[in-house]
Amino acid sequence: MNTASTEFRKRVRMALADDELQHAMGRAKGGFVLNRQKAIAEFPEFHQMTDAARDIKDHVLMNLDLYLEIYEKKVLENGGQVHWARTAEEASTIVEGLCRRSGARKITKGKSMVSEEINLNEKLEKSGMQVIETDLGEYIVQLASEKPSHIIAPAVHKTRNQISKLFYKHHKPMGYADKVSERKEIVQQARSVLRNHFVESDIGITGANFLIAETGSSVIVTNEGNGDLTSVLPRMQIVVAGIEKVIPSLEDLSVFLRVLARSATGQEISAYTSLYSGPRANHADEEGPEQYHVVLVDNGRSSMLGSEYQSMLRCIRCGACLNHCTVYNVIGGHAYGSIYPGPMGSVLTPLIDGHENNTDLANACTLNGLCRTICPVHIPLPDLLRNHRTQQQRRKLTPFTGRFFFAIWVYLVRRPHFYQIVLALPIWVLNRVGRKSGVIKRIPLANGWTNSRDFPCPSAQTFQRQWRAEMRKFNA
């Protein structure tokens, strides 16, 4: 078994045994799902809108080179600058260079998954700059020296008690002598601490939910307002975004905004949706950044184009597939060991980070299909995960034991009569063991299953045998 796989299993075992994590995940579970359902029930046009969103993305992806050119031209017209990065390393080097050359010391950041993908914070900190995450969830995980565990709720794995301790440890030296433990107090303290950072910041870095070709705007969607204070107050604004974020026009933006917030948090629209289109000089403004930079990141995206994984580039990072995933809701985001967790992460990570280090992600899935059903841009996530599994099997990247038992199973299902004979005995035994209570609490050699759930008692005969018997009765 390869190291990545061993590590993954270790992390999953730790996650399942972590009471605080299980408490936090148990609390969060269902809230997002319920809110989304309510929001969609109140919006009859939702499904029509998701079809439109998918079609816009497909159209843009088929013409991505042209849309990027139009977008770039518009940003330049607006007085901004565009930088292109083929890899994560290139992207973080570009941003680091911009920050260093401008003599920046303090940098505030809005929540950005692509900045996590390119390891931006480490790069900037290595150059001696202070980087402050300003989204409350991101700020919490930054204090804990962790990575986000959810793409829209980075600190979903943290309990209030853990946050309270973290704040006390980090804020006490700043003069906050009392330990805060109520939600309101925690939020107020973060507000108070971060306000000063916003004003003192030299450079603000954000991601982008969308880039609009028509106007050259970068769009950010937040509920806290942190992304805006990050964008507006410092003298330089840097937007880091994947190349797939571009959309044609403002009307297209409206289609996405209508599905994004409903899918993510069950809101009709997030509290703040902001369009930023360049530095102050070009607009004869006395406020806003003096310099506006956009760093466009490929990092594996262009190679997904035209491949069987192209539909993954439609993803708008709403997080709905995480919220609905049976596996994610139990193991949490960190167990995946990748920046993007859950169904979308299990598809995306091997594509940007290679299959070799990420073999288990595609297998941490029950293929129940829920993520496909709720995806607002109709990404066939289970199919893509199955593609990954096939590739891993072909390239012999999965553990030997798995492939061995799989080969036996394939041998059997191709020989139905033999399959019947081989399975009749274990089914009969399991039925004898469990027929009183209807469930089996322990199966030798299969406690991986029975430790965390009961095994349903099978009926005394195989389905096929029962079917034949029923058909005989029917025909008679």
Binding site: A24, A28, E45, Q48, A52, N63, D65, L66, Y67, L68, I70, N78, W84, R86, E90, T134, L136, G137, A153, R160, I163, R183, K184, I186, A190, R191, L194, R195, N196, F198, A213, E214, S217, N223, E224, G225, D228, V232, P248, S249, L250, E251, D252, S254, I269, S270, A271, Y272, T273, Y276, S277, P279, N282, D285, E286, E287, G288, S303, L305, S307
Partner: protein, 218 residues
């Protein structure tokens, strides 16, 4: 070696056209797509636009006071401030309505950008979107973004005739009003909030804790 831009575009063209350059025709088709307004399905409503706007605004934790004429702005502001026990020291933005308001001497109405310690900010919205109860701001020198994001209480004055049905109507108005698309457009729907502690909503994360709308029938 190709620079990053050229090699990135080369990779895109390999994937999309087998490496061929795009024709002028393909180019202009996409240019047209960008600059042609295409309307997709829009949420329908049978309600009066202003009524729906107020309902939606209240649903996202906002409060509303509808008044007749700009000369009632001071009284409406006073009503809110005394309800909330806020005093009479506020930052005031600019706009068609606010520029006409005369503040009596007991008010300290400061026409400047807001800072981190300002409690009350009064500013004027550019438009409203009925679909979601959204307030639209186009920050400029005299109505800076700090006024939207830094106050604890954000009181917003809006001319009720500037409420449009949906986002698409807003984009149309902005295009008509501005030769060059504005540097910043902020759509604000309710007060600032976060669910990052135990997935439970708390208001006043970084932006205003409360948003109070003074809707003016001009």
């Amino acid at each position: 070696m190709l620079d990053a831009r050229s090699s990135l575009f080369a990779a895109l063209r390999v994937a999309l056209t087998g490496g061929e350059q795009r024709s002028a025709l393909a180019r202009s088709a996409i240019e047209d797509r960008v600059h042609t307004t295409r309307l997709s399905a829009r949420p329908g409503t049978n309600m009066d636009l202003v009524d729906q706007y107020c309902n939606k605004h209240i649903a996202v934790h906002g409060t509303v006071n509808r008044i007749a004429g700009f000369h009632n702005v001071v009284a409406a502001t006073e009503e809110y401030c005394s309800q909330q026990q806020l005093g009479k020291d506020l930052v005031v933005g600019s706009g068609a309505i606010l520029d006409k308001v005369m503040w009596p001497p007991e008010w300290s109405a400061n026409k400047r950008p807001a800072n981190v310690s300002d409690k009350i900010v009064l500013s004027e919205a550019y438009a409203g979107i009925s679909e979601t109860g959204t307030m639209v701001f186009i920050p400029k020198s005299r109505s800076p973004a700090s006024q939207i994001f830094l106050g604890t209480h954000h009181i917003v004055v809006l001319d009720s005739s500037l409420i449009v049905a949906c986002q698409e109507d807003l984009w149309r108005i902005i295009r008509t009003d501005h030769e060059v698309f504005p540097r910043a457009v902020n759509l604000v729907t309710g007060p600032s909030k976060t669910g990052d502690v135990e997935q439970t909503i708390e208001y006043g994360a970084h932006g205003p804790e409360r948003v109070h709308l003074i809707l003016v029938d001009v």
